[in-house]
């Protein structure tokens, strides 16, 4: 009994110590995110260390599940019970939805002190603002319209990296004749949509993309350009293999790595797979803008949205927002993620050739107006509209007899029904 009492006493003391300690320690932020894979988790840890170096506490609230669906469900239940975390990984128009619920807190002081308006391209800054105030901080920029290729397969087929859709089909034929699968793809709705938006961008250009997939303009959605884009998209199916149904994107990427397939249309997170396989960009694998989209950049930006909190926690939260945009974190995080920093003024010498090209195109398109949000990755429209468009795209892509005109019509209906 004595030893039991001692243990209890020890426990109580240490518990009391812990309680005192946490109340003594300045302020703490709780960050909900789904950066849980090896490299990502290490990258998120950099931010944690930066916070701790400034004397703030970091309570990690990682919810696994790549697409963040689980994390979002957890976040919703926390928000509903009136106890949201200080910051959460939320992106795109969802930031606006949370803003409308009145749950987000503003970051204008930090933004002004750090000069975010000058630092961030206006298109990116718009996504981060709700009602004129900054409510979120971008951590990286993914480019979605990439074409990846295995140079050995291209050599054997005697083709160059295609730069137009026509060249893509020609190259595809040559690769097939050489005995390889021309285009690696996984038959999942979001992958279908990823390929589709690149084709649409190549067919109609950035202005049309903006009208159709961002503004949901009915004429654009049901018009001739859309029909043409859908038909081209469907033709790409001939370049893919028959077994793609349900395949994960990284399996498709590994087909390119192994040399079973020639090319893949996928965002720059695919680079993580190439890097993990020990390949070097520009030598062992090639990257280029998706054919016909050299002057455009479909972005997918991860960001941390800040919830409305009070007192010390708010102070820590503001520090988090400042640190998240600082070069140290931006560089470490993006080297691990395969993306590029959200601030274009960083030294890119550590980054590989693909990332440098990505940044160059990012700056160029930001000035010239080719920077568009990715529909397939939830940057352009709300989740319900996005889902409805996914349904049409994937159904059309997989159906044998649906005409492109019918699909375009359904697209219009989908956009209307969801509004």
């Amino acid at each position: 009994m004595v030893s039991f009492d001692k243990t209890t006493l020890a426990l109580t003391t240490s518990l009391a110590a812990a309680v005192t300690f946490s109340s003594v320690q300045a302020a703490e932020v709780e960050v909900l995110h789904w950066w849980t894979s090896g490299g990502e988790a290490r990258a998120a840890n950099v931010l944690k260390e930066l916070m701790e170096a400034e004397g703030y506490g970091w309570e990690d609230f990682a919810v696994a599940g790549g697409g963040g669906e689980t994390a979002m469900t957890v976040l919703k239940s926390r928000a509903m019970s009136g106890n949201p975390p200080s910051a959460a990984q939320i992106k795109g128009p969802e930031i606006q939805e949370w803003g409308e619920l009145g749950l987000l807190g503003e970051l204008d002081e930090v933004a002004e002190a750090e000069g975010w308006d000058e630092l961030l391209p206006p298109t990116v800054a718009d996504v981060m603002r709700y009602d004129g105030s900054y409510v979120a901080v971008p951590v990286n920029v993914h480019r979605v319209n990439w074409l990846w290729a295995n140079p050995e397969v291209l050599d054997e087929a005697g083709v160059e990296m295609p730069t137009t859709l026509d060249e893509l089909f020609e190259a595809g034929e040559a690769i097939r004749e050489a005995g390889y699968i021309p285009l690696a793809h996984g038959g999942q709705a979001w992958q279908d949509a990823t390929v589709f938006e690149s084709v649409l961008l190549a067919t109609g250009g950035t202005e049309f993309y903006q009208q159709a997939l961002v503004d949901l303009d009915e004429e654009a959605l049901g018009g001739e350009t859309m029909v043409e884009a859908l038909e081209t998209f469907k033709r790409l199916r001939e370049l893919m293999d028959d077994d793609m149904s349900g395949r994960d994107w990284n399996i498709a990427t590994s087909m390119v790595i192994e040399g079973d397939a020639g090319m893949q249309l996928m965002g720059d997170w695919a680079k993580g797979e190439f890097t993990a396989a020990g390949l070097t960009a520009g030598e062992d694998y090639l990257c280029a803008a998706a054919p016909g989209t050299q002057d455009a950049f479909t972005f997918n930006i991860d960001s941390l949205a800040m919830f409305r909190v009070e007192g010390e926690e708010r102070e820590a939260q503001q520090a988090l927002a400042r640190l998240a945009l600082e070069p140290t974190f931006q560089e470490a995080f993006n080297l691990a993620k395969g993306s590029i920093p959200a601030r274009p003024d960083l030294d890119m010498s550590e980054f590989d050739q693909c990332a440098r090209q990505s940044l160059e195109d990012f700056q160029h398109t930001a000035d010239a107006g080719g920077l568009v949000p990715s529909m397939a990755h939830g940057m352009a429209v709300r989740a319900d509209v996005q889902g409805a468009i996914f349904d049409v795209v994937t159904n059309y892509f997989n159906s044998r007899d649906m005409a492109a005109e019918e699909a375009a019509e359904r697209m219009v209906n989908a956009a209307q029904a969801a509004l």
Partner: protein, 310 residues
């Protein structure tokens, strides 16, 4: 089940104490059961009610209480994907229940022929039930993948023209769900029927044989009619599995190709949790509940009626 008064009453002691103990005995079961009743009232029926209320609102990402009447149900009725999901459920549910019953009955009859090693065989057929649908789904996904599984194997044997690509064919993919689900559940139905067969009085069979009935005829006219209650329970259990099927679809086809193998359960999950349409998702959940009730109420009714008659 309540304890009888004579048992509750202590053999001796003052009257007041006796009655207090009696009260305690009478109330104890109710007291002990009360928390679980309260919990299930709240978490099952309360949430059902909440889902119904949500289905009448325009809730999007988070629940809101702006009522819009039956507008979400109307939207559901015009949603192409919902109809695909519902008709898939009819095809999948119908075939799954029918094939499981036929196959289960056949296996049970064959096992019932007093064969050697019956116990081992029974276990072999029953084991798939011990797997989760996720495991079944993944295994069949590999088996049915044209480039990896059965088709590739048969082609490897030299039959170059052999095709078995249902998994990637939007028109046929729903039947792959049936294959996997039947593989999983028919052994269980077999066990149910086997128990039923063992319960049939031998003398009935002998009497039929004495009357000169052939073996198939004995089974068709005598044994199978005797198994009617078993058929009934099997249909109930299988229909539940069919309506609630979610994990199998997620693991086997992911709802694809396109959304060709979507079922109401996956539809509900997608819309309520990933597409920020809580109202629409709730409406579909209520329709699913309606489907379950349509099966459950006749079942309860007949159960209660037969008990009253019994």
């Amino acid at each position: 089940m309540s304890p009888s008064p004579s048992m509750a009453r202590p053999a001796d002691g003052p009257g007041a104490r006796r009655s207090r103990a009696g009260t305690l005995h009478a109330w104890l079961p109710k007291l002990v059961l009360a928390p679980s009743v309260a919990i299930s009232l709240f978490f099952v029926y309360g949430f059902m009610l909440w889902t119904f209320i949500l289905s009448l609102t325009n809730s999007r990402m988070l629940p809101s209480y702006e009522f819009v009447g039956f507008a979400q149900y109307a939207r559901l009725m015009t949603n192409d994907r919902w109809w695909v999901a519902s008709s898939n459920l009819v095809v999948f549910g119908g075939l799954f229940v029918a094939i499981c019953l036929v196959l289960g009955l056949l296996l049970a009859i064959l096992l019932d022929q007093r064969i050697r090693q019956e116990g081992a065989l029974r276990t072999v057929y029953l084991y798939p039930m011990a797997l989760s649908f996720i495991v079944t789904g993944v295994v069949w996904k590999w088996l049915l993948n044209p480039g990896l599984g059965i088709q590739a194997m048969v082609r490897g044997w030299g039959f170059e023209e052999f095709r078995f690509d249902w998994l990637v064919d939007p028109d046929m993919a729903v039947y792959t769900l049936v294959i996997a689900a039947v593989w999983q559940a028919s052994g269980f139905v077999m066990a149910l029927f086997l128990a039923g067969l063992r319960g049939i009085d031998d003398s009935i069979l002998k009497a039929a044989q004495l009357d000169g009935a052939s073996l198939p005829r004995v089974y068709w006219r005598v044994v199978i009619p005797c198994l009617r209650p078993v058929v009934f329970s099997a249909v109930m259990i299988l229909s539940h599995i069919a309506i609630k099927s979610f994990d199998l679809v997620v693991a086997l086809t992911g709802g694809g190709p396109g959304y060709a193998t979507d079922l109401p359960a996956t539809f509900m999950y997608t819309h309520a949790f990933t597409r920020a349409q809580v109202g629409l998702g709730s409406a579909s959940a209520m329709l699913m509940l309606g489907g379950v009730l349509a099966i459950l109420i006749p079942y309860l009714y007949s159960e209660l009626r037969s008990r009253r008659h019994g």
